[in-house]
Amino acid sequence: MKKFLLFFFVLFVFIGTSNVHAQERTVTGKVTSVDDGAALPGVNVVLKGTSTGTVTDIDGNYTISIPSGNATLVFSFIGLTSEEVEIGSRSIVDLQMTSDVTQLSEVVVVGYGQTEKKKLTGAVETVTAEKFEQVPVPSFENILQGNVAGLNVQSTSGQPGGATNVRLRGIGSINAGSAPLYVLDGVPINIGDLTRAAETSNVLASLNPNDIESLTVLKDASAAAIYGSRAANGVILITTKRGKPGKTKFNFRTQHGVSSRGDDSFDVMTASQFTEYMREAVVNSGGDPDDPTSAGTYFPIVADTVDTDWLDLAFQDGSLQSYELNASGGDEKTRFFASVAYLDQEGIAVQTALERLSTRFNIDHSANDKLTFGINAGISNAKQLSRYGAGTSFGDPLYGGMFLSPLYPVFASEEQIAAGDDRGTGFNFNTPGFANHNIVATQALSSNETNTFRITGKIYMNYDILPGLTFNNSLGLDMVRLTEEEWTSQNHTDGVNDGGVVQVVATQNADYVLTNTLNYTKTFSDVHNLSILIGNEYQNAIRESVDVEGNNFPSDKLRTVNSAAIAGDFGAFGTEWAIWGLFSRLNYNYANKYFFDASLRRDGSSRFGANKRFATFWSVGGGYSISEEPFMDNISAITNLKLRSSYGTSGNQDINNFESRGLYQFGSYHGQPTSRPTQLDNPDLTWEESVQFNVGLDFSLFSDRLSGTVDYYNRTTSEMLLDVGISRTSGFGEITQNRGEMVNKGWEVTLNSVNAVLGDFTWGTSFNIAFNDNEITELPGGEDIVDGNTILREGEAVNAWFLPIYAGVNPADGAPMWYDEDGNIVFAYGDADRQIVGQPFADFFGGLTNTFEYKGLSLSVFFFFNQGNDVRRTVSQFINSDGSRFGRNQSTEQLRRWQQPGDITDVPIIKRNNTDQGNSASTRQLHDGSFIRLRNVTLAYNLPQSLVSKARLSNVRVYAQGQNLLTWTKYPGLDPETGIQGVDFGLYPQPRAWTVGIDIGF
């Protein structure tokens, strides 16, 4: 850190001495609208050719200091035609500005800066706040689903606050990470699941989506390469809201909603179905179902009055409520945005919820016309409740809900209570075959809570050294503190032997980011527009964690480890990484017609080998605004037409922190400390490199009634990190090497249209679709790498499904059949050959939104679609087990089992402890995961301004919306939306939700 402090010192001296002013004079004026003469606040007033500027205040007035002599002021505001005014010797310059309906020069945020959209040469897509302000999802990246072409967003669970997989333009890596880099107001932040014990948790759910002004997705090399070694999977820039000069605006919003399980077709058997099924299985295996020894202990004949629908008991009605108040405003010197928000969401599976309290302050202060500084701070605390033993225990409500026998009652009988078998809880624990679990008891006797306390923020300063030359310095912070607490009651089946168990895991992730940039912008000869950026960045990320466990508690009331009579396992670890980069970017355009840019970044990462620690990444891009050509003036249908292309490299450093080092770890032998090698030295380990070509066309036709973008990309990931076998005489079996290559290529199309304008009625459509084709082009030695039921093979998509093909049921005897590699039917599972039978990634996906507006009323209908992926419903191996999981409840799909010769069905004969292996991994469990989902319908009404004004409010909007109302799919599980792996082991489905809300501005 010493070097940084020194650097700051140098910097301030540098700034302090450079503050030499030329002789100046003051110009004032007022800006009004040509339409209604109203004052225009927030208009940018800039001395042409410099970055000296100001903005108009609430009354449209401005004051600017300029050097003496003639000068030109440039007035600009989004939605208005920019004006250049020669001021001569005037000291008062008033201006009326006209609105510009065709203006396309919206400002977009890019890496380390912002630019006008029309100047981009790369593939960049922005989603602004109005798209997601009212959508009731806890984490913002879920909103991106279907709204950005090529960005595949998959929830892995309906758990409130659960993890989300985000992949841009296909899967970019096999063993390193494939998630994009997220940058919040210039600070790269932690993403994903940082917990150690919770089943699924998403650290991004700790951010309040309504604090976000815009999300920008940088897709190609031209846009992303400035992020160098972390940009290979794309970059998502998050920009939070900031205050604008003017009257302080308040916004209050609240939402209330309910949610429930959707209309999936999945169910398990009732008691009578189950009894008939299990009896048949006993008979088919040569037993007597009325003889307890042949029926077995897992199939107790219980009074036929019991018919417990355990799966139904795993679900509940969810709810949502949120309250939020924010304020923004300020004056020319100081602007602010402040918010406080509360969200309380109950999941549709029992034991799941999310409660979040969040606040944000963004303050910018212009000390003088050269120096601006500010602070951003977002502070939040999110409490997530998760299921006990999710996916691993019969005590898990969803897992147990599928398997528990319907013949077992929820509550203990009077005899059991009298005998104390219920341990005083009233629950029935006599559920042999299920480790004595009872999912209703689980809810009462266990809890699993994750608290995420997070601070994201930065302090920054901007200094205009000279006209056009700006220095920016910022220190960013992302601090995440996670506390995971799992409590198992002394009366819970898993806690009874230990007298209750409490486990606590406390983890802290702290990232510090220091960024400096110098930006120089100048126009030469009126047509040569040049902008140069240079900068550097250092980031250090530290993760530390402590875990403790306590057993044997005096009472269930006491749930802290201090009250435990017996200390359990404990541990602690720490790890860190650091990255340092030096970067530069040049943008040039000629008369806003021909565009060129280039970027260069040199990065060093602590994660890579001493020989290969540094690497350089670069990109070039070009654009051609055809519509700016004079010969296009006659073609009135085309208002904008721009061709752009880029090529460049970026990297992926998302591997373990010390993977390149030869390492020794410590253990014990006969009570004495030992050391041992755990990892071989790997000094040549370095980045995966991605080379991406992109070509795109932006167009706007028929007075902007139809606009859109088409992009084609080809991204080659080379030097892929793969585990390569080495001679075991080294003491190890494999080492990670930069081998292997993979290509993702595809198309993205985005269309926006205004379909109809009839008086006050408008109908607009936005549509996007993305096609991606993934192919592995090189593996070490060309050898297949098989991992369970997936394969990596040259010429095939990554992680293709590698399974025997199920050939159905032999009508003669009901036995399962498969194919061998020659296509012959075989009758033994061992004779079947595994083959590539599909892949877990969609061929294409996208979104379609139709918006209808009439006066203050609007209706928007949003569909998401996803086509061509195959989902492996692995839970079928247990719930479609043909009797091999005897005594466990089964899917109702098993009702169509083979029962007599001649039956044509896909479900084999059922036998107690069936060993035909019909349920072994095969295409029997593989299903088409395509679906179309009516993701969101919103009906909103903006109260008329006349009414609102009377109440001294500025706007009032009331709305009702539905989430996930309908799903069209052939997928037979609880939910086709399974996450990027395409594996369904009894998923927590996405809820169907109804929400009403009101937004009030005053």
């Binding site: 070097k3 650097f7 140098v10 910097l11 540098f14 050294i465 000279l466 030359l469 400096n516 110098l518 120089y520 240079i534 900068g535 550097n536 250092y538 250090n540 670890f573 720490g574 790890t575 990484w577 650091a578 990255i579 340092w580 030096l582 060093g604 990462s605 602590s606 620690r613 922190n657 010390f658 080092r661 030869g662 390492l663 020794y664 770890q665 410590f666 253990g667 014990s668 032998y669 006969h670 009570g671 004495q672 400390p673 030992t674 050391s675 041992r676 090698p677 755990t678 990892q679 071989l680 030295d681 390569v724 080495i726 001679s727 075991r728 005489t729 080294s730 003491g731 190890f732 079996g733």
Partner: protein, 483 residues
């Protein structure tokens, strides 16, 4: 031009804070290999780390000693057993499924020893005696593991008259390489060389706990090595050296206890004390063994040797064949190494510390083996009286009939006694191999033909793992295992 001045200054500031130092981070739960060898304590930790590595279930913690009996006429798979050791018994070996883990684990232990041997000479902060003890132990381990590798993955020493048949790579510098297989002759001579050096370096004549290598351990192992080579006078010299100078004495198998405090009923053999491996302390005859403490973080636990033999407190995956059960005299106290539960036999030689099978001791070298080597060598050198005297130390302790035969009968009787005494310590398969005898399993219901494995069959070597031959083109598969 002011602007350029600023730009230049800006660049200098940027360049000035190059953060290369900031990228030199060190892990917190582990250290880089060089940092693991800075002090004598570091080296001593690494020495203990070799033993910890040997304790792995893929090596001495289970598989290696287990296969020595499973692959012979001693083993049998009891009803209801898990599949952990089945392939070692059925000998349905192939390069893909059987031996990869053990092969890699053994070379991993060798890498631990090489990291010590190749660094210790530069440790100036320790005395020469301290350095020598560390290096001696590492050489002992390197020799032992290579000897174990060549016993398992190559034919016996005298398979060819000049020992030119394929052995295993003798690794003295661990690196990512593609080493060729040394001949068996080369491996044995390297083992011998390392043992000689280990003997000369180590200051500890014996290890008090027997949980670490000592000078006597090196001599004892060399006795076994020479026996395998057919150097009977050399083996005899080393065995006598250990017997006479090691200060060890045969453990007492005859300890009887009053089980019911009723003097009128006969006492019974104390099961917990009959063997050497149930107490946390070594027996009087332990020369080198791997020991566990309840506080150890790394040990095979329930996947280990003790649990794998017992059914009452473990998995009972490998049991004794009736061939070995029937070999004991009715009064032989060593019968209590076996337990019949409802008609199925299990091995009870490793009851575990305090009866808990998670913590156990794996014997590697003990005095009884030295006495058996002494007897065998005397017999082979036609010294009948000396041979009888030696072997009857073993029989008399076990309350077994004395051996009074001579000549070839005496040798056969001694070898049978060796089988009885060392059963389920991992010797039998390797003994049959060095004796160049067929594996004849009478109590055997295998249908794959492996009830009789004639000497010279490819099953007298385990195949080199496929993963090894895939990654290392210089690694030639044994002839019998090539496709």
């Amino acid at each position: 031009m002011k602007i350029y001045k600023y730009l230049l200054l800006g660049f200098l500031v940027f360049a000035g804070i190059s953060c290369e130092d900031q990228l030199e981070l060190e892990p917190q739960q582990s250290v880089s290999t060089d940092a693991a060898f800075e002090t004598l304590k570091d080296f001593e930790n690494a020495v203990l780390g070799m033993y910890e590595g040997m304790q792995d279930q893929l090596y001495y913690g289970r598989n290696y000693p287990a296969l020595g009996d499973a692959s012979s006429d001693n083993g049998q798979i009891p009803d209801g057993a898990g599949a952990r050791l089945t392939v070692f018994y059925t000998m349905a070996l192939n390069p893909i499924n059987t031996t990869g883990g053990g092969w890699e684990r053994m070379y991993n232990v060798i890498s631990r020893s090489n990291n010590i041997i190749n660094r210790i000479d530069g440790l100036s902060t320790a005395t020469e005696a301290e350095r020598n003890q560390v290096k001696g132990e590492a050489l002992f381990v390197r020799a032992l593991v290579h000897f174990d590798l060549v016993r398992q993955f190559a034919q016996d020493y005298n398979f060819t008259s000049d020992q030119s048949h394929l052995g295993v790579p003798y690794i003295e510098v661990t690196e990512i390489g593609e080493p060729e297989r040394n001949t068996v002759g080369e491996v044995y001579s390297n083992v011998l060389r390392d043992l000689n050096e280990a003997e000369s370096l180590m200051g500890n004549t014996t290890s008090q706990e027997a949980d670490q290598a000592s000078k006597m351990a090196a001599v004892a192992l060399r006795a076994r090595l020479k026996l395998y080579m057919g150097d009977f006078s050399g083996a005899l010299t080393d065995a006598n050296n250990v017997i006479d100078n090691g200060g060890y004495s045969l453990a007492n198998y005859m300890l009887m206890v009053d089980d019911d405090n009723d003097p009128s009923t006969p006492d019974v053999v104390d099961l917990d004390n009959i063997d050497s491996w149930s107490s946390p302390n070594p027996t009087s005859e332990s020369i080198f063994e791997l020991e566990t403490s309840v506080t150890d973080q790394e040990f095979p636990g329930l996947e280990g040797l003790a649990s794998i033999y017992q059914r009452d407190d473990g998995y009972g995956d490998l049991g004794p064949s009736l061939d070995i059960i029937n070999l004991y005299d009715a009064d032989d106290v060593r019968q209590s190494w076996y337990l019949n539960v409802a008609g199925v036999w299990f091995v009870e030689k490793y009851p575990g510390q305090g009866g808990n099978s998670q913590w156990f001791t794996t014997p590697i070298l003990r005095l009884s083996e030295m006495v058996l080597i002494k007897a065998e060598c005397h017999a082979r050198l036609n010294q009948n009286t000396e041979a009888q005297t030696a072997i009857n130390e073993i029989t008399s302790r076990a309350n077994a009939p004395a051996i009074n035969s001579t000549g070839a009968d005496l040798l056969a009787d001694i070898l049978e006694e060796r089988r009885r005494e060392l059963a389920f310590e991992g010797h039998r398969y390797f003994d049959l191999k060095r004796l160049q005898e067929d594996i004849v399993r009478n109590d055997c219901n295998l249908t794959n033909g492996n009830c009789l494995i004639p000497y010279g069959n490819r099953l007298f070597t385990y195949p080199i793992p496929q993963a090894e031959t895939d990654a290392n083109p210089n690694m030639i598969q044994d002839e019998g295992w090539r496709n």
